[in-house]
């Protein structure tokens, strides 16, 4: 027999009220847990995809669209830029590294990216099978693409025009798979890589006159931090190019999503506070029902402090149970959300990841439990035993 055992016995003695309190608290904590996991994983993923890319140069339009399309491969490109302008920019002294990307086609919804071998090297990609491309129309699949399409080295496939599945197929220009990348947790997992020449070949043979050669975007790493002050301005001054900063644009994106996240987090907090209020009322009612029990405990030798502890413990036990259930629910919901989004080939989410901020959620739950139990505990402390026993 322990105080915690007595608290549990009391909680079991009124299952409906206990269940309601647990549910409220668990829902609030679950909501905050989901937000915590999702935003942390998105930020981490986006940070990994944008690592080492200081600037993106592409066609004029929305800078956010440019970053979303060229770095994260989540949006349509803003357009194409002349190869000559891109080459000129990549030779600029402030540029340390420039990776050209040519977009336009896809396979089963996965983007086909014409690029140089610097691109997989930038993300430290390793080959799981085969080799990188050497000739036009040779392709290397990202790990997820290979898993989903069940294509291996030696297979061939036709790209579809556009970036969504179901575009017009380029049947007469099939790609040949020469390599498969190992899973590395970046955007590469969801891409089909090939040479820029392949992309040009597909489109020029597609009946269009071969005019000036174009690419879609240039991923740029600065030679020195000073370049951040001058290079974007120079690029933006040119007629055909615009510069966008992945760091700035993703921060801007998170600020926009952030409003929604804040609203949902506030809603979660309101749920947790409502749970606290509900626990408070439950304990206050319980105190009324239990005044004889408390008096008898004093009669049997329990100190005022012990009775106060008993009421506090009941709040804490409820809060801990609700908090743990909420966190479990939050992880399950995140995993379910991840499974749903996986079907849409969006960024991968998992519920089986631990966030270092999660212990604070338990602290929050327990703090709410203690706050809710404080007044009932004080009243238990103050109760006059002899009066209660005498009134019978």
């Amino acid at each position: 027999m322990t105080l915690a055992g007595i608290s549990l016995a009391y909680l079991r003695a009124r299952p409906l009220s206990t269940a309601l309190n647990l549910l409220l608290l668990a829902l609030g904590i679950a909501m905050i847990t989901v937000l915590l996991l999702v935003t942390a994983q998105l930020e981490e993923r986006m940070g990994r995809d944008a690592r080492g890319i200081d600037m993106v140069a592409g066609a004029k339009g929305s800078p956010m669209q440019l970053v979303l399309s060229a770095v994260f491969h989540l949006d349509a490109p803003t357009g194409n830029i002349p190869l000559d302008d891109a080459l000129a920019l990549s030779r600029h002294p402030a540029v340390k590294k420039a990776i050209a990307l040519a977009l336009g086609d896809s396979y089963q919804g996965f983007r086909i990216v014409g690029t140089s071998k610097d691109y997989p090297a930038h993300y430290d990609a390793r080959l799981d099978e085969g080799r990188l491309w050497n000739e036009p129309m040779e392709a290397v699949l990202g790990a997820e693409v290979a898993a989903k399409s069940r294509l291996g080295v030696g297979a061939s496939f036709a790209g579809a025009h556009g970036l969504a599945a179901g575009g017009e197929a380029h049947e007469e220009e099939p790609f040949k798979v020469v390599g498969v990348l190992a899973l590395n947790g970046t955007v590469l997992d969801r891409l089909v890589l090939t040479s820029i020449e392949s992309v040009w070949e597909v489109h020029e043979h597609g009946g269009r006159p071969s005019g000036r050669r174009e690419i879609t975007a240039l991923l740029i790493q600065y030679a020195s931090p000073l370049a951040a002050a001058t290079l974007p301005r120079q690029v933006n001054a040119s007629a055909s190019l615009q510069a966008a900063s992945p760091a700035y644009e993703s921060a801007r994106l998170f600020r926009m999503i952030g409003v929604g996240v804040d609203v949902m987090r506030a809603f979660g907090l309101v749920l947790v506070l409502a749970a606290g209020l509900s626990v408070f009322i439950a304990l206050l009612n319980a105190l009324e029902e239990r005044r004889y029990d408390l008096a008898v405990m004093r009669m049997l030798g329990a100190s005022r402090g012990k009775l106060m502890g008993l009421m506090l413990l009941e709040g804490i036990v409820l809060a801990l149970l609700g908090g743990i259930a909420g966190m479990a629910l939050g992880h399950l919901c995140t995993e379910a959300l991840g499974a749903a989004l996986k079907a849409a080939q969006q960024t991968k989410l998992t519920g089986w990841a631990w966030n270092p901020q999660e212990p604070w959620l338990l602290v929050l739950a327990v703090a709410v439990g203690i706050a809710a139990a404080l007044l009932p505990a004080w009243r238990a402390y103050r109760a006059d035993v002899a009066l209660v026993l005498a009134e019978g």
Binding site: M1, A13, R298, L300, S303, L389, G392
Partner: protein
């Protein structure tokens, strides 16, 4: 064992209603170890107040109470609660079993709250001697009044108190059960060597007790 001198108790909590009414005045009372006393008096004569004072649940307005060599006024707060848990067994009038705990846990509550080791063996023996063995896992609401009273008596003697107090143990009982309840109290008090004090206004109890204290307010 129990010695009371110049005891006066005036109401303070209900002062507005009662005035500063004196509810108990007792010049001198002595009870030796192992004696069985009956405290008699009409309702409102201060019987329950007397028991609460002796148990250290109330502080007297005036006077001194000594139980087994311990002057109660010298104990405060948690120390007084602990002393009571270890030395005084109380069977309150309304029994007050803890409804969400089983019968066995109601008994084990006594040593636990008094800071003594959980004596499950003693609880089992007591339940057996009160023919409650099959009720160990039952909740108080599943018991008859007689069974509940026996549980309350068992709880009061769990810690082998020096002083066993019972408030109106025969109220609402027919003659047969009245004498059975008193006999149980006497037997359990004898078994622990405790001084027994039974407060009642029930005239049927008179016959069983040689030592009687009459209170009249």
């Amino acid at each position: 064992m129990l010695s009371v001198k110049g005891l006066r108790q005036r109401y303070s909590a209900g002062a507005v209603l009662h005035g500063a009414r004196e509810v108990l005045a007792l010049e001198r009372f002595e009870a030796a170890a192992g004696e069985h006393w009956l405290v008699l008096g009409a309702s409102g004569s201060g019987k329950t107040t007397f028991l609460n004072l002796v148990a250290g649940l109330l502080k007297p307005s005036e006077g001194e109470i000594e139980v087994g060599g311990q002057v109660l006024a010298r104990l405060e707060g948690a120390a007084l609660d602990r002393w009571r848990g270890r030395n005084v067994g109380i069977v309150p009038q309304k029994l007050h079993l803890v409804s969400s705990l089983s019968v066995l846990h109601n008994l084990l509550l006594a040593p636990y709250l008094a800071g003594l080791p959980a004596d499950t063996a003693r609880a089992g023996i007591l339940l057996g001697s009160l023919s409650l063995s099959d009720k160990a896992a039952a909740k108080p609401h599943e018991l008859s009044h007689g069974q509940a009273q026996r549980v309350a008596i068992a709880r009061a003697v769990m810690n082998r108190p020096k002083l066993l107090l019972a408030d109106e143990p025969t109220a609402n009982l027919d003659d047969a059960n009245c004498f059975q309840a008193l006999e149980l109290l006497e037997n359990q008090a004898k078994e622990c060597g405790a001084t027994l004090i039974v407060a009642t206004h029930d005239q049927r109890a008179k016959a069983r007790f040689e030592k009687r204290l009459e209170l009249d307010a």
